[in-house]
């Protein structure tokens, strides 16, 4: 299922805050584990480009946006709940295998 797909994440932060650093660590860890070699993570610091906050509809920090594949998905927070992030980004489909 979609093994050839590439993934593109944008992580919006506002300076290097503990929450943002944690979010980056988490998404890097999950990506390596599940979609190794098929992902990119771009970090956007809104302190440096504040105009992007409105354009990309950001209000919470940190926010992770799944740009590719479509549709666009957003997760806010430090991404500490692995299950929620994986299902939220559809990296791993909700467990329907087995019975």
């Amino acid at each position: 299922m979609g093994k050839e797909e590439n993934w593109e994440f944008w992580l919006y932060i506002a300076g290097q805050t503990p929450k943002s650093i944690l979010a980056l660590e988490n998404i890097t860890k999950y990506s390596r584990e599940y979609i190794r070699g098929r992902y990119t993570i771009e970090i956007i610091d809104l302190l440096k480009s504040p105009q992007l906050a409105e354009i990309d509809e950001i209000f919470a920090i940190p926010t992770l946006v799944r740009k590719i594949p479509k549709p666009l998905k957003r997760i806010i927070g430090d991404l500490s709940n692995k299950e929620k992030v994986l299902t939220g980004l559809s990296i791993r489909p909700i467990a329907t295998d087995g019975k």
């Binding site: 929450k19 504040p50 209000f59 997760i75 991404l79 500490s80």
Partner: protein, 498 residues
């Protein structure tokens, strides 16, 4: 700390009447909370604060919307005469729509609203905004799960806005037990305004009340307000302060025969005259005479007609030799007709107020005031009439009301008379009586404050050339007895008790 040493700067609200109630406006550089139920006019009021800030005080503004998109907002306020596109193009207004859709957002772990802060900061700095509106920030609560984070972040946001020094209006939805659903009033301690929208007897009335205003005196009553094609206006007058200046200048009643009955030869400028009588006693004609008299002195007259349309009124008056048309043409006379049942009492008062402010008349005629009285409760009528007269006297407008009375006392009309007669300065009664095989009209002066007047009852006829005052029963009788002086004596004796 002595409160008297602290000067609170205020930002004009741009809303007619609200500056008076708040003693100058919203607290400058600090947040004001406007709360009310859905449809109570929060967004419109907030938008007007921004737009008038731009157009009248040259203060750019940011509107951060959590509910409506820029397009929807632009369309919704266009009917109020606000051209958002123009202000946006001039870089005086910035609208930022913060869309928070629960179904599209996942939350996991700790976050903050720094993104919102950055957005707002960027918007403020990009146009040099002095005014900010957040409408309605509580929407965040329906979009996000972690209310603990939201609460602390909203608290931080208000603090940040204060430090930023922008005058902010925050709107909040009315809660069941508290002023706002999320208790925003706890965070905004400077100024809280409550809007209310009530429908009583199928007539809708909007009201506004200042719940708190730290460090400032403010009106504590409920004030009716109006949203129409010019936006929001609030009617601030509640107290009948008898502080207006008076004039001793006399204006002709328009009817020489009637002038003669007053020692001064007419009504005092700035006074309030009431003409009461049953149906068909020529009240409107007497009113029209006065309108004509004022117009001839090149003074603007605003004629509120609650029974006849402007055309009907001018035609009917023409039939008794009163030609109002030239003055309508020269814009000295403005006749405004509306159905009394169209609005609630206070709405009527507000629209009267608006017309008066716009037209700046020297003379106002309300024909008849009794039509308005049929649509309100006793207390309301009294309060409204007091407000109305206070407003008219404040503007030093000479006023004439007519009021319909009935042969048999009918509560409403008795009410009109009762409520108004103690407030008016001059009271003329007209009546019909049957006799000598015909109906005879007559009039007399019930009272005239500060001016001696005839005490006799005068018969008059209405011809196609107007009203002709014939004679008084009293002088006719006295004439027979050979003593015409008695009438004058009685007249003089009333001088002191008025």
């Amino acid at each position: 700390m002595k409160p008297s040493n602290v000067i609170f700067h205020k930002t004009p609200t741009g809303i007619d009447g609200l500056n008076e109630i708040t003693g100058g406006g919203f607290p400058q550089g600090r947040p004001t909370l406007i709360c009310g139920s859905a449809g109570s006019g929060k967004t419109v009021l907030a938008m007007q604060f921004l737009i008038k800030g731009i157009t009248e005080y040259n203060e750019p503004g940011v509107f951060m919307s959590f509910e409506e998109s820029e397009k929807d907002l632009t369309q919704n306020v266009r009917s109020l005469g606000f051209d958002l596109e123009k202000s946006i193009a001039q870089k005086k207004l910035k609208i930022d729509f913060v869309r928070v859709e629960r179904s599209e957002i996942q939350e996991t772990g700790e976050y903050d609203l720094e993104g919102l802060f950055i957005r707002l900061n960027h918007a403020i700095d990009s146009i040099g905004a002095k005014r900010v509106v957040l409408d309605t920030i509580e929407s965040l609560f329906s979009g996000l799960e972690n209310t603990a984070i939201l609460r602390s972040e909203i608290r931080r946001l208000f603090q940040w806005l204060k430090e930023k020094g922008v005058t902010t209006v925050i709107t909040g939805e009315r809660g069941d037990t508290s002023l706002t659903r999320q208790g925003l009033e706890e965070y905004v301690s400077d100024c809280v305004i409550l809007l209310d929208f009530r429908v009583i007897e199928q007539i809708a009335t909007r009201r506004l009340r200042i719940v708190k205003y730290r460090g400032s005196t403010h009106g504590t009553n409920e004030y009716p307000f109006l949203i129409d094609e010019d936006g929001v206006s609030v009617l601030p007058i509640t107290s009948l302060k008898l502080a207006h200046t008076t004039s001793s200048e006399v204006i002709s009643t328009g009817l020489p025969g009637l002038d003669k009955l007053f020692d001064g030869g007419g009504y005092y400028r700035g006074n309030c005259t009431l003409i009461t009588g049953t149906a068909g006693t020529a009240k409107t004609i007497l009113a029209a005479y006065f309108a004509l008299s004022s117009c001839r002195q090149k003074e603007r007259v605003l004629y509120f007609s609650f029974e006849e349309s402007p055309d009907q009124l001018t035609r009917n008056m023409l039939s008794v030799g009163i030609n109002l048309k030239p003055f309508i043409k020269s814009k000295l006379l403005l006749i405004h007709s509306s159905r009394p049942s169209l609005h609630g009492l206070e709405m009527h008062l507000l629209s009267l107020h608006k017309y008066i402010l716009e037209f700046q008349p020297h003379t106002v005629i309300i024909d008849p005031i009794s039509s308005l009285v049929t649509i309100g409760s006793r207390g309301e009528v009294r309060a409204m009439l007091a407000r109305l007269m206070d407003m008219l006297k404040m503007h030093q407008i000479t006023t004439l009301f007519t009021s319909l009375t009935h042969e048999q006392p009918i509560t409403y009309n008795a009410l009109a008379e009762e409520a108004i007669s103690s407030l008016v300065d001059t009271w003329i009664k007209v009546r019909n009586k049957e006799g000598r095989g015909s109906r005879i009209r007559s009039l007399y002066i019930e009272k005239s404050r500060g001016m001696g007047h005839s005490n006799e009852i005068w018969d008059f006829v209405v011809t196609n050339e107007g009203i002709k005052i014939i004679n008084s029963e009293f002088s006719a009788k006295q004439g027979q007895n050979g003593s015409g002086e008695a009438g004058r004596l009685t007249a003089n004796s009333t001088r002191n008790n008025s």
